[in-house]
Symmetry: none
Subunit: 192 residues, 4 copies
């Protein structure tokens, strides 16, 4: 039940945003009493935070790995498949059409402004990614020249931009395709 609430809440957050999502919306989505939500979560903000943590930390699941054991290319694939996995999980049919996944980053930016925990996690992730790129440079996968941090930022910015300027997504595969293509295009310009 708790998982269902988190899932439906995050879907609604993607669709309607922080202030546009009401407890009543969530009640209708889970098809149970509004009071039940308060049984699991102290209040609305606790629920929203929990939902955001649940689904945003998925993206950074790679942090648990070792930065040395992964190439830059692998990391790109990892990132793309992460957003794909989240879309799947949130889609109604369990197959491919995600609900408002194009708002993923908008929600994310709001989270890092609201919740210090999410901000911290994001910074950790970014440090990890910089490490991956540094290793890639040393290993000769990526050209020397630009600082690892700059390259990391560009990857992040391109990932975000690809999503942010896609106004409406009906097919998850399609969005993942766009993201992958854009990331690989950039990768090819810095590959050794």
């Amino acid at each position: 039940m708790k998982e269902k609430i988190l899932r439906e809440t995050f879907k609604l957050l993607l669709k309607k945003g922080f202030d546009g999502t009401s407890i009543t919306d969530i009640q209708n989505a889970i098809g149970m009493s509004r009071t039940l939500v308060y049984h699991y979560f102290k209040n609305k903000d606790a629920l929203l935070l929990a939902a955001c943590k649940t689904y945003f930390f998925l993206r950074y699941a790679s942090i648990s790995q070792d930065a040395c054991s992964i190439t830059c290319l692998q990391h790109i694939e990892h990132t793309v498949s992460a957003i794909g996995r989240i879309s799947m999980e949130l889609s109604d049919d369990g197959k491919s059409s995600p609900p408002s996944i194009e708002n993923y980053n908008i929600l994310f930016y709001q989270c890092i402004r609201r919740y210090p925990e999410v901000r911290k996690y994001m910074l950790d992730y970014f440090r990890f990614f910089t490490q991956v790129i540094e290793n890639a440079i040393e290993r000769g996968e990526i050209k020397r020249g630009l600082p690892a941090e700059t390259i990391g930022k560009y990857f992040l910015y391109i990932f975000d931009g690809a999503i942010n300027y896609t106004v409406q997504v009906s097919d998850c595969e399609h969005l993942c395709g766009i993201i992958r293509r854009e990331l690989l295009t950039f990768y090819s310009t810095i590959k050794a």
Copy 2:
């Protein structure tokens, strides 16, 4: 009065977002009756759209110029100074501290999802910018290699990223500094 309403509304939109901004907030900000807002605007959405058009189209003011008559470097400066100008205009003391300007793009993404007019304007602007870069390539300002459109996208993504990952801004000069530095860093990698 109408201009004041638009100004205060946009400031509140930056601070609290679309669904977080209430007519009562606007009333308090303008220091006049809530009914007056409805005297000038049909309803809340009409006001929000008007406010967004007013301030987002400022960013694209360069469209009126000729794409041939401007170098890429000039356009970068133009872009940075545009965001600076908007910050000034929205700051309370008329000097430098902008109100939640770090949410500028979040608001913008929501606008291009909500309002087709804004989306169209953005696409026009992007076409214009691509033209600028194409000219820059032909004129030898920028290295041949990457397509103009790709370069344009990267500039856009970097501009957005610089703002989006800046969690809180107290000093407009500071934010403009960050943006300029990031854009120029990228510019130096593609300069002929």
Copy 3:
């Protein structure tokens, strides 16, 4: 102008009722400033009363005549043509389709509850009509038996009923036809 305001106000009263008609509705109907209404009328209630008096007293215009100089049958025709005349006057094309004339009596009942002047006028009219019937009995137009007052009431009730149970009227001629038929049917049962 004043006449136009009264006309449009009464049309709106028929369509939307006392509490459903706003000054804004009237403004839109007359196509001029809302303030203009206050130039002619002290406040909303003064306007509504004036409009009701204007159009309800038309129905009783016969009072100015002499009760002796008119037969019962003539009075019936007079009554039917009065409602027809009002419909014409209120129709947009000046021809035949009246706006919500089926609500005429609902509005009238509300008026005699609200405004003592209208109530008084109604009673005067009813006395006049009773006189007409008394004369008709004496002249041998109508059978002796029922008291004149009772017959008068029945005419009134039938007139009202014919309108009240007609839910929607698109053609004034049609409504007048129904009223005339019902009144004449009753007349034939009391004719000498």
Copy 4:
């Protein structure tokens, strides 16, 4: 609680009409939170319809009976006692003074214009009443001559007229007395 809301709502509808009755009025009448009304009813119109159905259908309770098993005279008594019963139920002391029962028909006419369900129910009732009169004619209770439908209409019109032209009622018994007298007067003119 739901019943109380319906009761107080209908009382207010009688007193102030459709557009004159606000949710705040209802809140004050039931002495509970305004939100509670929305807990039981989707919106204002749903509440108004429910209240009207509850109290108008009482009037037609006789439909469930068999038209053959009732004389015209019994039906008259039934009708009079129905309006008396409704008045009782709506009176504050449970005894005799009804709240604005003189507006009963005004409200009813508005209902048959607004709600098709109420209109349909009314037509069913009228058909039933016509049947009662037809039987009364065949049984010799009522004179042959006028069609049953016409007689039915006259009864209805007289019932309505007796209420509509009574401007203010303080005592229910009194109103019922007026209605009964008028109906019986007409009955005596058509009795065999």
